[in-house]
């Protein structure tokens, strides 16, 4: 059987740094194929070459045995390749129908859009996926999961032969993921191939047939998923010894033994317009305080309030120096850092270099006669590039050219450079590969051992349970319980969240 897609010997460099060297990928018709690898392994670059976003420097791409030359998204679509990105590429204010048929509208005899036919076709397509919604309403009214299904529906309506899903599940809840998976199985039954990119290895075992492992811009291996083990795949991704990984445990945050010191920050009855309705917590020197809770329980909102981003409508934050923290600038002046969840929106300054991004929060300290002390700036940047093992062509490389995990390390460096007393970490390892995740976690643990206080927000219960000394459980904008380590288990945390949730629902 001819492979649907066959990429061989693909090479690509950016600014003289090789992102891909001799990478390959083959996808059979009607299979679900996964690509895994650390950030910077070259997954995204390979896919962007397939979809015509980047031009390859070397190699061959074939589709069903024919050479494929694609120069843009439209040509990719016409060739039968549809991509569903992490960030949805839709128009939320327009109707579902318009989003599905955009660019391929059915015309009436007068050359106008035939809306009746368009709505009917959209309904018909969506029904195939078990989605029954009013297609005339604006797409933005529906949940992310529905929106994602609409993108897939659009892809299928364009007779896609390959659907690429880039981190498609990262913003979905369990039930929505289930729906998505059944759609993937349906696509497979129709003979459509799916290329699946995800950081969650568990998902791969549930729906994928084969998996391609990438490392350092090369294709390491392609396996039938049934014949692999999770540990085996991780070993291949990292290029490290399996025993070593097992010994390190699931997260590198655990293992702290230091006694917490004096109280640095104390919050009582915090209320905000962003949905906080009574948060109380305190943070002490040398400890990690976790914030547990479901999505929407107010974890990020609590962090933003402490950092002075959202004004308080009630309650108070007491800093040990007695300073009011009513703006990020004041919080930063008190050596509080905030590593935000969305590094693209709230973190990186894309056009600035790695050096300029690292020193952004400490600019006032680098002032020398109105100018920036360039020598010191370079020393600081170099120090953190080395210490955090940031993979970059040099400190002058624009940060946008770095992989996600390395961007995250640069942002961590931005806050560590502040020599912080308190560091707020909002999902510090989300969207970061296993290797970088370990590194980031151990850096944080080292800093905590030296007296840093951390407020940790994480949707990964493992990270919270193993990492935090105490976990403050939030629910509907209130702090409802506090769990103390050692002794907290994932079940205990889930119980705490669920228990109070039931009580809240009953009240």
């Amino acid at each position: 059987m001819t492979d649907l897609i066959e990429m061989t010997g693909i090479g690509k460099s950016f600014a003289g740094v090789a992102a891909l060297r001799d990478a390959s990928l083959s996808i059979r018709p009607g299979e679900v194929h996964a690509i895994i690898g650390q950030n910077g392994a070259g997954k995204s670059t390979l896919i962007k070459i397939l979809t015509g976003v980047y031009r390859r420097d070397a190699g061959v791409v074939r589709m069903s045995g024919h050479d494929l030359a694609i120069a843009g998204p439209r040509e990719a679509q016409d060739a039968g390749i549809a991509t569903i990105y992490q960030e949805l590429s839709l128009v939320p204010l327009r109707s579902v129908t318009e989003n599905v048929i955009m660019g391929y509208e059915p015309r009436s005899r007068l050359g106008l859009i035939d809306w009746k036919a368009a709505h009917a076709r959209t309904r018909q397509i969506l029904t195939r996926f078990g989605v029954d919604i009013d297609v005339t309403l604006p797409l933005g009214r529906y949940s992310t999961a529905i929106q994602q299904l609409v993108v897939i529906a659009r892809a299928v309506s364009l007779n896609a032969r390959l659907v690429i899903m880039d981190e498609a599940t990262s913003s979905l809840d369990d039930q929505e993921i289930e729906t998505l998976f059944s759609v993937v199985r349906g696509l497979k039954d129709d003979g459509v191939a799916v290329l699946y990119i995800s950081h969650f290895l568990d998902e791969l075992y549930r729906i994928c047939d084969r998996v391609t492992v990438m490392r350092d811009g090369r294709t390491v291996a392609t396996h039938d998923v049934a014949g692999t083990t999770k540990l085996g795949l991780i070993t291949e991704m990292l290029g490290r010894d399996a025993g070593e990984i097992q010994a390190a445990g699931l997260t590198a945050l655990s293992g702290g033994t230091s006694e917490p010191g004096r109280t640095l920050l104390q919050a009582d009855g915090l209320r905000t317009r962003t949905g906080l309705r009574g948060i109380a917590l305190d943070i002490r020197q040398g400890e990690i305080v976790g914030l547990g809770g479901l999505l929407g329980s107010g974890r990020t909102e609590a962090a933003r309030a402490l950092f002075g981003l959202d004004p308080l409508t009630g309650g108070a934050v007491h800093h040990h120096d007695g300073v009011a923290l009513d703006s990020p600038a004041k919080a930063i002046a008190q050596r509080i850092g905030f590593l935000t969840e969305d590094r693209k929106v709230d973190g990186i300054i894309p056009h600035l270099s790695v050096r300029e991004n690292i020193t952004l929060a400490i600019l006032p300290k680098l002032r020398k006669a109105g100018a920036i002390d360039r020598l010191r700036e370079r020393q600081i940047a170099q120090h953190y590039i080395t210490a955090l093992q940031i993979k970059t062509a040099g400190m002058e490389q624009p940060i946008r050219e770095l992989s996600g995990g390395n961007q995250q390390k640069v942002l961590l460096a931005r806050w560590l450079a502040l020599d912080p007393e308190i560091l707020i970490l909002d999902e510090p390892t989300r969207g970061v590969d296993v290797g970088a995740k370990f590194e980031i976690q151990s850096i944080i643990r080292d800093q905590v051992a030296k007296g840093l206080a951390v407020l940790l927000i994480s949707s990964e219960f493992e990270e919270l349970v193993e990492g935090a000394d105490r976990i403050v459980v939030l629910q509907d904008g209130r702090s409802v319980a506090e769990l103390h380590n050692p002794g907290v288990t994932q079940d205990a945390l889930i119980n705490a969240i669920a228990h109070h949730h039931d009580k809240g629902a009953a009240a």
Binding site: A15, L360, E396
Partner: protein, 322 residues
């Protein structure tokens, strides 16, 4: 592979494209335009280019914050109308030295105040830059015309006219002024704290705020510098002509300045501020105007040529983003 010099020597069509365009225009003129290779031609072009360049440098800073300033032409008119009013007044006739100083300082101060007004609207009240600066775009020139009763003011004041007609080392004074301003602003952008903050705010305002940067102050600063430079350019125009017509000073300057900034490699979405690029852009726009004029082509055609240049520059920017 990890040679750091790679990054600096990378091809940047936004900048190199403009250089190539400049070479093409110069070559074309040397062959076609009569008397192009003469000192007089150089002087005329420098003095004409200078006002565009001065305003374009300020515009570059504003665009670098992700904004735009439509009011520069009107601010030029306001400053240009004020100066003769001051040095033709009875007070200045009595104290020529003081009058001359006041006729330069007061208009520039008024221009700076216009910048504060624009900056406050944009950063404190969250008005879209294009709308915020539209206010002065309309009312600034109106105010200038009211101040002068719509009259053309002519004067003879050699000291003031030095701004527009003076020579230093044989070259027009305002050419040196452009160079001096460019050197200072380049230092500001690349070395100063304010410059770094400016690029960060333009590159990602939310991230800049999260990192504790004084976002409002930085934006106001950019608009103030831009307006101040526009005021200065207004004075130069008046000095060149020894006459001030509030209806015409700086007319359509906002478009020239934006075009020069974009041709020079400034990204309209913010985050980059190539100061010398803006000068390069101003030179190209001036030369295109001159080329058409010297070859007897109507002024209106020059406007179309300018539009073509902007389109080409934006096209190259898109290519640069890959």
């Amino acid at each position: 592979m990890s040679d750091p010099t790679m990054i600096h020597s990378r091809f940047d069509p936004a900048r190199h494209g403009a250089l190539i365009a400049l070479v093409v225009i110069l070559a074309f003129n040397l062959i076609v335009t009569p008397n192009f290779f003469q000192a007089q031609t150089l002087f005329v072009n420098i003095s004409q280019m200078a006002t565009i360049a001065i305003v374009a440098m300020g515009m570059t800073l504003v665009i670098a914050t992700g904004g735009i300033d439509l009011s520069v032409g009107a601010v030029m008119a306001l400053a240009g109308a004020l100066a003769p009013l001051i040095f033709l007044s009875d007070f200045a006739q009595a104290n020529p030295g003081l009058g001359l100083a006041a006729s330069i300082v007061v208009p520039v101060l008024v221009a700076l105040f216009c910048g504060v007004f624009n900056g406050m609207l944009v950063s404190c009240f969250g008005v879209q830059p294009i709308v915020a600066t539209l206010i002065l775009f309309i009312s600034g020139r109106g105010l200038a015309q009211v101040l002068t009763n719509g009259n053309l003011q002519t004067f003879s004041n050699p000291a003031f006219s030095y701004l527009g007609t003076g020579r230093v080392l044989g070259l027009p004074f305002q050419g040196w002024l452009v160079l001096a301003i460019a050197v200072v602003l380049t230092w500001v952008v690349t070395r100063s704290i304010f410059g770094r903050q400016l690029l960060a705010v333009g590159g990602n305002e939310r991230a800049a705020r999260m990192s504790g940067l004084p976002v409002r102050r930085v934006k106001i600063g950019a608009y103030v510098i831009c307006s101040g430079l526009a005021g200065l350019a207004g004075l130069i125009v008046v000095a060149i002509n020894s006459a001030s017509d509030a209806a015409r000073i700086g007319n359509l300057m906002e478009l020239d300045a934006i075009a020069a900034a974009v041709v020079g490699g400034t990204l309209l979405q913010g985050g980059r501020a190539p100061i010398f690029g803006a000068i390069l852009g101003a030179v190209i726009i001036q030369l295109v105007k001159y080329t058409l004029l010297a070859n007897g082509i109507a002024d209106e055609v020059a406007l179309i040529a300018k539009a073509a240049i902007i389109i080409a520059a934006v096209y190259l920017q898109q290519g640069w983003k890959e």
